[in-house]
């Protein structure tokens, strides 16, 4: 991601220190992670000290300071999904992509995270890929679901 895109996002939000989180969220969703140079640019443009930017980016879980894959896979481990076999789904996903929660695969295709309830317990066990919900999952169905993502 080059500085031109970043400046565009910053200008869209009016270059105000109070828009810091919105700007970071925007960059995060476009670039999938926040490299140090990007944070430095944002800090400089908004006149917010780097220490403050770091505090915020490490505080919220939605920000990532390491590269993320093109597709973000979230497996719900909430209570309802758990009793309906979320662990088996997670094991199958791990097997399928070859990574553990919190990791990203070598081709930067998938990142895997576990989440604690996404509010649609009736669909459990649920997996969300790039905001798309896949409910009532059986471990055997996973291959079919994941191969749709390039």
């Amino acid at each position: 991601m080059d500085f031109q895109n970043i400046d565009q996002i910053i200008d869209k939000h009016g270059c105000k220190a109070s828009s810091l989180i919105q700007i970071l969220l925007n960059i995060q969703s476009e670039n999938h992670w926040l490299p140090k140079e990007v944070l430095e640019r944002v800090s400089q443009r908004l006149d917010v000290p780097m220490s403050q930017v770091q505090h915020i980016t490490t505080f919220y879980k939605s920000f990532s300071m390491v590269p993320k894959g093109r597709h973000e896979v979230h497996v719900c481990m909430g209570t309802a999904c758990h009793v309906r076999g979320a662990q088996r789904v997670l094991d199958a996903v791990e097997e399928q992509i070859g990574i553990k929660p919190g990791e990203t695969d070598v081709d930067l295709k998938f990142s895997l995270e576990t989440v604690n309830c996404i509010g649609c317990c009736a669909l459990g066990p649920v997996m969300v890929v790039d905001g798309e919900y896949h409910g009532n999952l059986a471990p055997a169905q996973l291959e079919g679901v994941l191969k749709n993502y390039e």
Binding site: M50, S51, Q52, T58, F59
Partner: protein
């Protein structure tokens, strides 16, 4: 600015509007223990050992003296059994992190805190924020800040700024109640900029 009359430990005191309970107590010479307070910095309310009991309009509560603004007719008590118990627990929790800190040992002696009450988690930092706030509010260098949250929250230097600014300043060093700051600085230095910028 109007004047406010309140009562602290049975003594009447008059202060300007906007003053905190801690400032009012100090003007009377009443000592309230503090850890995260510094006269040059904005009140923070991080350590809570300055907790006092207040009573206004018939309601009693425990508040942090360094933050709570003085009110007309407020009745403040700074030494009660309940407060001693609160301060004792707070010191015990902080001592799980920094068992050999001098200010903590002094408070532990005063309130009979047991430094082994909680399982050791020697992070040494008690999150008073003195270093972080001093650097940003007084020196305006922002050489360090907090990162992460909850139990993992810790101080972190920005190497690019620290390598340029910290050598000639180090004014935050004596502020740290536990020496966690010095350790963090040495760690940052050895991991990132070494002797660069040293005079």
């Amino acid at each position: 600015m109007s004047e406010i009359v309140l009562q602290i430990d049975g003594q009447e005191v008059t202060v300007q509007e906007g003053a905190t309970i801690l400032e009012a107590a100090q003007s009377l010479g009443i000592e309230i223990p503090t850890l995260c307070h510094h006269h040059k910095l904005e009140p923070y309310g991080g350590c809570r050992v300055c907790s006092v009991e207040v009573e206004s309009r018939g309601r009693a509560s425990v508040v942090a003296a360094c933050l709570y603004p003085a009110e007309d007719g407020l009745v403040v008590t700074t030494k009660t059994e309940k407060l001693s118990r609160i301060r004792k627990s707070l010191v015990e929790m902080m001592m799980a992190h920094a068992p050999d800190s001098e200010p903590l040992l002094a408070l532990a002696k005063e309130y009979g805190a047991d430094k082994d009450r909680f399982k050791r988690n020697q992070s040494f930092c008690i999150h008073c924020g003195l270093c972080v706030r001093y650097c940003s509010e007084v020196k305006k260098k922002h050489a360090l800040g907090f990162i992460d949250r909850g139990a993992k929250k810790r101080i972190c230097f920005i190497p690019e700024i620290a390598s340029k600014e910290c050598w000639k300043c180090k004014e935050c060093f004596p502020l740290c109640p536990t020496s966690a700051l010095q350790a963090s600085f040495v760690l940052t230095k050895s991991l990132t900029f070494g002797g660069e910028g040293e005079e």
